[in-house]
C-alpha cells in the first residue's frame, strides 16, 4: 500500500514511524479502564463450574441435590439443561459445553452453578458429586498413536489423530546420500501456560430486545456468536459479544472460555446479570495450553554449509479437544525448516488427542516448537562442519524470490538476511568473545543465535479479511470502530494513529469503539500477527473515504474551492488559498448521517502456487528475526542466567516504535520463560503446577536488558509498509539460549525448559561420559 495521495502536505497530528503514547495508557494507569472482570453492577449473580477432577471416565451420574438445596443457590445446570447442541469447536465440533457421557480431561466442565455470592457458589460446587467409571488414560503422543490405546473420541475415524500432514519437496531420501554431513536430534518442548494476569472472565445479561449480551475477555467476539448461538438453539443474530480491553490473552482467549457457560446461565438467572471469573487454579486447569511437542530432526548439508536435505517427524500433543490443534501443528510443519532454503524436504506431522489439558493457540501458534528444534539442528550442523553459526545461517537464509521449504516462491519482503547482517554488525555480536572470557570462577559463558520466520495471517483456505468503520461524530471527533480485539498489544491505539495520520488528527480528536458485534464490523480474530496488518489496511481505505467526504462538505462551504485546497489539522480543515478554517464539528453538522460514516475492506493476499503443498494451503508473507543471547551457566548448580539479549526483527515498517518494542520485548520475555523455567507439568492427566508459585514465569529479576532493533524493509502490501510483529519474537529465545548453553557447556540439553537441574544433569553426564554432543 502506498502513502496516502496527499502525503506531501504538512501534518500536525499523528505521524507514522513516530512514537505516540498509547491511547489506552491513561485509563489503564489510573485504574479507570473497565475490563470484563470489572463488572459488578446491580443485583448480579455469580456463576461457576464444577470440573471433573479425573482425566478420563465414563460419566454415569451427577448429584446436585445438596447444591440445589443450599440457600442462595439459584440454579444448578447440567448437560440436560442445554437447549441446543452440546458441542462446540472451531474446526472439529466435538467439545461438550457440559459433559454428558464422557470426561476427557480433568478440567472438563460438568455442572454450572448460579449463586447469590461467591462464597455460596464455592460451597455449592463442593456439594456436587459425580458418579463415573474411570477409563484408562492416554497421556503421551506415543500412547495416543498406539493401535491398542483407548480412543478418546470414539467417533473420530482417525483414532486418536486430530490431524496428520505431510510435506514432500524434492527427493529427500536420495538427497541425504549426497550430503557431506548429516546431523540428527530429538527435541522435546513442554506445554506452556499463558498466565495472563486477567484470568478468564465475563459478564452477561439479556437485553431489553431479548438479545443475549456477553461482555467477555475474548480475542474472537464475532466467531464466538457462531459458537454460542447453536448451544442456546438460537440464531447468531440473537447474541451480542462485547470485548473490552483484555488483561492479556496471547492466544489463550482465542475461542470459547466463559462465553457459552455465561449464555446458559443467563437463561436461568431470572433477569439478573451474571458474572463468571475463573480463579487462577481453574484457569490453569481449564484454559488451553501451548501444545507440547516431540520432534525428530535430520538435517543434511554439503561441505560448504549449504543445506541439502531435511527430514522431520513432528508429534504435537493436542490434549483432550484441541479446538485448533491440527492447525497449530500444521503451521509448525510449514515452518519446520524455519527461514531456510532447503531443496529436499520430508516433513510429517501429527497432532493427537490425549487426556491432557486442552491444547490451543499461544503466541507463535505451532512455530516456537519447530524453531526450537530446527535452530539447534543448524548449530549442530555448523559445529560438525566447522562453520560459524551466523555464517551458516547467512548462507542458507531465504531471500526474496527464493522458494522456501514448501516450494513457495517468496514474492514479498523477505528480511532474514538483513536481520542476520544487522546482527553481525552489532556490538553484542562483535564483543562476544571478550565477554565470554570474563567468566568468574565456577561460571561458564556462552553465546547463542537463532533465526526465525513467522507467517502472517490465516492460511489461504480461510479468508483473512477486515472491515473497518470510521465516523466523523457530530461533536467533530473521529471515531474508529475497532473490529479486532486489543488484548494488550496496543492495536486499537495504532488504529487511532493510522486514522489520525490519514486525517491529520492528533490523539485528542480521536475516539475508539472497541469490538462489539452490535457496533463494529466483523474483522476476524486478534491473532496470527494479523491485527494491525489486515485491519490497518481496511482502515486506511475507510479513512481516505472519510477524508473525501469531509473535503466534499468543506468544498460546499467555501464557494469556488477545489478539493486540493484543503489541509487537515487537528479538529479542523483549512482552506489554504483563503486561510479560512472550518471546524470538523461544523462540517459534521452539514453532512448527512450516512456521509459521516465510511467503511473500508481488505483481504490479505495469498499464494497463487503450491496451494496443495499443505493442509489449508501455505502462507505468502512472513516476518523474520535474528536473536542473539549471552548466557552464564553456574557449573555448581546448572543455573542459567541470561545476561544480554539482542532481537533484530523484520516486521516491515514500524508505525509506532514504542508499541513495536513492547511486542518484541514481551515476546522475548515469554520465550525466555519457555526456555528456562516454564514447565506445565501434568502427571497422569492431573495438573501438578497449579499456581504461580509452582509454574514459574519470569520476574523482573530474570529478564535482562533487551536490545530490540527493527530492520525496516517495506512490505508493499502492508499498511504503511508494516508486517505483523506480535509473534516473531516468541520463537527465538528457546533455541538461542539452548545454543548458548551448548556453547558454554559443550553439551546440549535436548529438552526444555533448561532448568538448573536439567543443565546440571547434562554437565554431569558429559563429565561421566566424556562425550561432546
Amino acid at each position: 500500500m502506498k502513502e496516502p495521495e496527499n502525503g506531501e502536505i504538512e501534518r500536525a497530528g499523528y505521524d507514522i514511524g513516530k512514537t505516540a503514547h498509547r491511547a489506552d495508557a491513561y485509563a489503564k494507569v489510573t485504574g479507570r479502564e473497565k475490563y470484563a472482570a470489572d463488572y459488578y453492577d446491580g443485583e448480579f449473580l455469580w456463576a461457576g463450574v464444577k470440573r471433573a477432577g479425573v482425566p478420563h471416565a465414563a460419566l454415569t451420574g451427577i448429584h446436585a441435590e445438596d447444591a440445589r438445596a443450599l440457600p442462595g443457590v439459584i440454579a444448578v445446570l447440567t448437560h440436560h439443561d442445554i437447549p441446543g447442541e452440546n458441542r462446540i469447536g472451531i474446526i472439529r465440533k466435538n467439545q461438550p459445553v457440559l459433559a454428558d457421557t464422557r470426561i476427557r480431561h480433568s478440567g472438563e466442565a460438568v455442572a454450572l452453578v448460579l449463586a447469590e455470592n461467591r462464597e455460596t457458589l464455592k460451597d455449592a460446587l463442593n456439594r456436587i458429586t459425580l458418579d463415573y467409571e474411570a477409563l484408562p488414560g492416554v497421556f503421551s503422543v506415543e500412547e495416543a498413536l498406539k493401535e491398542t490405546s483407548p480412543r478418546i473420541h470414539e467417533d473420530n475415524p482417525e483414532g486418536n489423530v486430530v490431524k496428520a500432514v505431510a510435506v514432500e519437496t524434492g527427493d529427500s531420501a536420495k538427497a541425504f546420500n549426497e550430503c557431506d554431513a548429516v546431523v540428527e536430534g530429538v527435541f522435546e518442548v513442554p506445554a506452556q501456560e499463558h498466565a495472563y494476569l486477567e484470568t478468564e472472565s465475563g459478564w452477561a445479561y439479556q437485553g431489553e430486545d431479548g438479545t443475549y449480551v456477553i461482555v467477555a475477555s475474548t480475542q474472537t467476539p464475532f466467531r464466538d456468536c457462531f459458537e454460542i448461538a447453536p448451544v442456546l438453539g438460537i440464531d447468531p443474530a440473537g447474541i451480542r459479544v462485547i470485548a473490552p480491553y483484555l488483561g492479556g490473552a496471547f492466544g489463550g482467549k482465542d475461542g470459547i472460555t466463559v462465553q457459552c457457560l455465561l449464555a446458559l446461565a443467563v437463561l436461568h438467572s431470572r433477569g439478573r446479570p451474571v458474572k463468571m471469573w475463573w480463579d487462577r487454579e481453574e484457569s490453569f486447569l481449564a484454559g488451553v495450553k501451548r501444545l507440547s511437542a516431540k520432534m525428530h530432526y535430520r538435517l543434511g548439508a554439503k561441505n560448504d554449509g549449504e543445506f541439502h536435505a531435511l527430514e522431520c517427524r513432528l508429534y504435537y500433543d493436542g490434549g483432550a479437544y484441541s479446538p485448533l490443534g491440527g492447525e497449530i501443528m500444521t503451521l509448525g510443519a510449514e515452518h519446520a525448516g524455519c527461514a531456510y532454503r532447503i531443496p529436499n524436504v520430508s516433513i510429517k506431522g501429527w497432532c493427537v488427542y490425549t487426556n491432557n489439558p486442552v491444547g490451543g493457540p499461544f503466541r507463535g501458534f505451532g512455530v516456537p516448537q519447530v524453531t526450537a528444534a530446527m535452530e539447534q539442528m543448524v548449530d549442530m550442523a555448523a559445529q560438525r562442519l566447522g562453520i560459524d553459526p551466523l555464517a551458516i545461517r547467512l548462507k542458507n537464509a531465504v531471500r526474496k524470490g527464493d522458494r522456501n521449504c514448501l516450494g513457495v516462491t517468496l514474492t514479498n519482503s523477505t528480511g532474514a538476511v538483513e536481520c542476520l547482517e544487522k546482527m553481525s554488525s552489532h556490538p553484542l555480536w562483535k564483543g562476544r568473545a571478550a565477554w565470554k572470557e570474563e567468566a568468574g570462577p565456577f561460571k561458564v559463558r556462552g553465546v547463542g543465535v537463532a533465526c526465525m520466520a513467522h507467517a502472517m495471517g490465516y492460511p489461504p483456505m480461510v479468508a483473512d479479511e477486515a472491515r473497518a468503520k470510521i465516523e466523523l461524530t457530530v461533536e467533530g471527533k473521529i471515531r474508529v470502530y475497532a473490529g479486532v480485539v486489543d488484548m494488550g498489544q496496543g492495536n486499537a491505539s495504532t488504529y487511532a494513529q493510522i486514522a489520525g495520520y490519514v486525517l491529520g488528527q492528533d490523539a485528542s480528536a480521536m475516539e475508539l469503539v472497541l469490538p462489539d458485534t452490535a457496533r463494529t464490523l466483523p474483522s476476524g480474530s486478534s491473532s496470527a500477527s494479523r491485527t494491525t496488518y489486515t485491519y490497518g489496511n481496511a482502515l486506511i481505505e475507510a479513512a481516505r473515504s472519510l477524508e473525501k467526504a469531509i473535503i466534499k462538505a468543506a468544498c460546499e462551504r467555501v464557494p469556488g474551492s477545489v478539493a486540493e485546497g484543503f489541509l487537515f489539522l487537528p479538529g479542523k480543515v483549512r482552506h489554504t488559498p483563503t486561510g479560512r478554517e472550518l471546524l470538523l464539528e461544523e462540517l459534521a453538522a452539514f453532512m448527512d448521517d450516512s456521509a459521516r460514516v465510511t467503511t473500508g475492506y481488505f483481504k490479505m493476499p495469498v499464494v497463487r502456487e503450491k496451494l496443495d503443498a499443505i493442509y489449508m494451503g501455505p502462507h505468502l508473507i512472513f516476518s523474520y528475526g535474528a536473536h542473539l543471547v549471552y548466557v552464564e551457566v553456574d557449573e555448581l548448580t546448572g543455573q542459567v542466567d541470561v545476561a544480554r539479549y539482542l532481537a533484530v526483527t523484520d516486521a516491515g515498517r514500524v508505525i509506532n516504535p514504542q508499541v513495536f518494542a513492547q511486542q518484541i520485548e514481551g515476546a522475548v520475555a515469554q520465550g525466555m520463560g519457555y526456555a528456562l523455567t516454564e514447565d506445565f507439568k501434568v502427571r497422569k492427566g492431573r495438573i501438578v503446577t497449579r499456581d504461580l508459585s509452582t509454574y514459574i514465569i519470569p520476574t523482573s529479576m530474570d529478564i535482562p536488558a533487551i536490545d530490540s532493533v527493527p530492520v525496516e524493509i517495506d512490505e508493499e502490501t502492508g499498511p504503511f509498509g508494516l508486517k505483523g510483529a506480535g509473534e516473531i519474537g516468541m520463537s527465538g529465545p528457546l533455541p538461542a539460549i539452548a545454543n548458548a548453553v551448548s556453547d558454554a557447556c559443550g553439551t546440549r540439553v535436548f529438552r526444555a525448559p533448561m532448568t538448573g537441574e536439567a543443565v546440571y544433569g547434562a554437565l554431569i553426564r558429559k563429565k561421566e561420559e566424556g562425550t561432546v554432543l
Binding site: 489503564k28 475490563y35 494476569l197 486477567e198 492479556g248 494488550g488 499456581d691 520476574t699
Partner: protein, 158 residues
Amino acid sequence: MKIGFTLNGKNTFIDVDAARRVIDVLREDLEMTGTKEGCGTGECGACTILVNSESRLACLMVAAQLEGAEVTTIEGIERDGRLHPLQKAFVEHGAIQCGFCTPGMVMASIDLLSRNPEPTQAEIREGISGNLCRCTGYQKIVEAVAAAAAAKEKDGLP
C-alpha cells in the same frame, strides 16, 4: 463487623464479615475496580495497595485488618486531576500493555521510591520483583520507575 478506615483520604465505614478479603471489599463492595486480582494467593502482586504507606496485597488481607488504617489505591494517587509522577512515567515510557498488572505495579513502585528515592536499576528490578507482568518483559517498567525517580517534581506525593 463495622470497620472504619481512611480510603484515599476519605473516612470510610463498612459493615462486612470480618474475614471478607480486602480485594472483595474494594472491588465488589466499594466498586473500586482499579485494584486487580490476578491470583488470589499472593503470588502476582496485581492487588498491591498501600496500607499506612506500605505496600500490601489486598487478596491476603481481611477486612478486620483495615480498622483505623490509611489505605491508598490506584484511584487515590492523582492530585487535582494530575497523574502521579509514576503514572506519568508509566504512560510516557510505554510501561503499559494489557494494563492488568499496572495498578499493582504502580503502587509497588510508589512504595519502592518512598523507601529508596534513588534506586539503581538492579534495586528497581528487585523492588518490583513481587509483581508479575506477562506482557512487557519489565524493561519499560524499569525505565519508567527510573525516570520517575530521576524526575525532580515529586510533589511530596505518596
